[in-house]
């Protein structure tokens, strides 16, 4: 079994807000991330897939194909968008780094030929990232 990781980048705006709470409670819990005008990050996505090496091609997956899947399923939808306002899964879920990792897993799972999705890692900043392994 080989683990293969492909990176992609997207730049998006977001804010943290729970509609069930008062503005004061949102401010207390989320601090400056609750600014309703939004703020943004350069996100780095690392997608790790696991699989056996194809004896003919020597590949686990065709990297160009994986790149195209990441572009089509994630980057084209998230990049230069406001996550809360323009990406459907964040109409209901707060776009925290954890929830972004889970949402990307759900977008990619079972879409990568010949390999199993192993981990989705999302860096919000170089010093903060979330990992999702598909665990319930």
């Amino acid at each position: 079994m080989i683990f293969l990781t492909r990176k992609a980048e997207f730049s998006s705006a977001h804010y943290y807000w729970n509609d069930a709470w008062s503005p004061e409670e949102n401010q207390r819990v989320f601090g400056k991330c609750a600014n309703r005008n939004g703020h943004g990050h350069n996100y780095t996505l690392e997608v790790t897939v696991a699989g056996a090496v194809d004896p003919v091609s020597g590949f686990v997956v065709d990297l160009k194909q994986l790149k195209d899947i990441l572009e089509h399923e994630v980057v084209s939808i998230y990049d230069h968008r406001h996550l809360n306002l323009e990406v459907p899964e964040f109409k209901t879920a707060i776009p925290t780094t954890e929830n972004i990792a889970i949402a990307i897993w759900q977008r990619l799972n079972n879409k990568i030929p010949n390999a199993k999705l192993h981990r989705v890692r999302v860096y919000e900043m170089p010093d903060l990232f979330a990992d999702y392994y598909g665990e319930p």
């Binding site: 683990f3 943290y16 729970n18 069930a20 709470w21 819990v29 989320f30 601090g31 790790t48 696991a50 879920a93 707060i94 776009p95 925290t96 780094t97 954890e98 929830n99 990792a101 889970i102 192993h118 981990r119 170089p126 010093d127 903060l128 990232f129 979330a130 990992d131 999702y132 392994y133 665990e135 319930p136």
Partner: protein, 142 residues
């Protein structure tokens, strides 16, 4: 759903690798330039990985402000701009980054809001250390 969150902290500290168990020649032989009596220093990076079920109200493993204030009080205030050899935890053991990883693991085990998975420390850009308690780090996390 269960997710992992990792946060990186940075501190600068000095140390000297030396043990009273060895004589001067053996300390020099084993620890080499790290045994310089005047010490030397590093910019350490500590990567803390926590896990837990997401809080449905916040979408978070834990509140980052709580983690940062815990790290400020229990990690950075103790280790940044310090000489590691003068700290209580290195009174009886060598201030290697292996031992530092175990000490910092003990610190973050006390963080109340999430489960500690592992501590990863970069002593230099070429040397890094991982400690996950008794567990093997999950495959693919390194």
């Amino acid at each position: 759903m269960k997710a992992h969150l990792s946060r990186r902290y940075h501190f600068s500290a000095s140390h000297r690798l030396h043990t009273e168990t060895f004589d001067e020649a053996k300390n020099q032989a084993v620890f080499g330039k790290c045994n310089n009596p005047h010490g030397h220093g590093h910019n350490y990076t500590v990567q803390v990985t926590l896990s837990g079920q997401l809080d449905p109200a916040t979408g978070m493993v834990c509140n980052l402000a709580d983690l940062d204030s815990f790290a400020q009080k229990n990690l950075l205030a103790r280790f940044d701009r310090a000489n590691l050899n003068t700290l209580d935890c290195f009174a009886e053991q060598v201030s290697t980054t292996e031992n530092l990883s175990i000490e910092i693991y003990r610190i973050f085990q006390k963080f109340p809001s999430a489960h500690l998975e592992q501590i990863h420390i970069e002593e230099t850009s070429n040397n890094s250390f991982d400690f996950a308690g008794d567990r093997t780090p999950p495959s693919g996390t390194l």
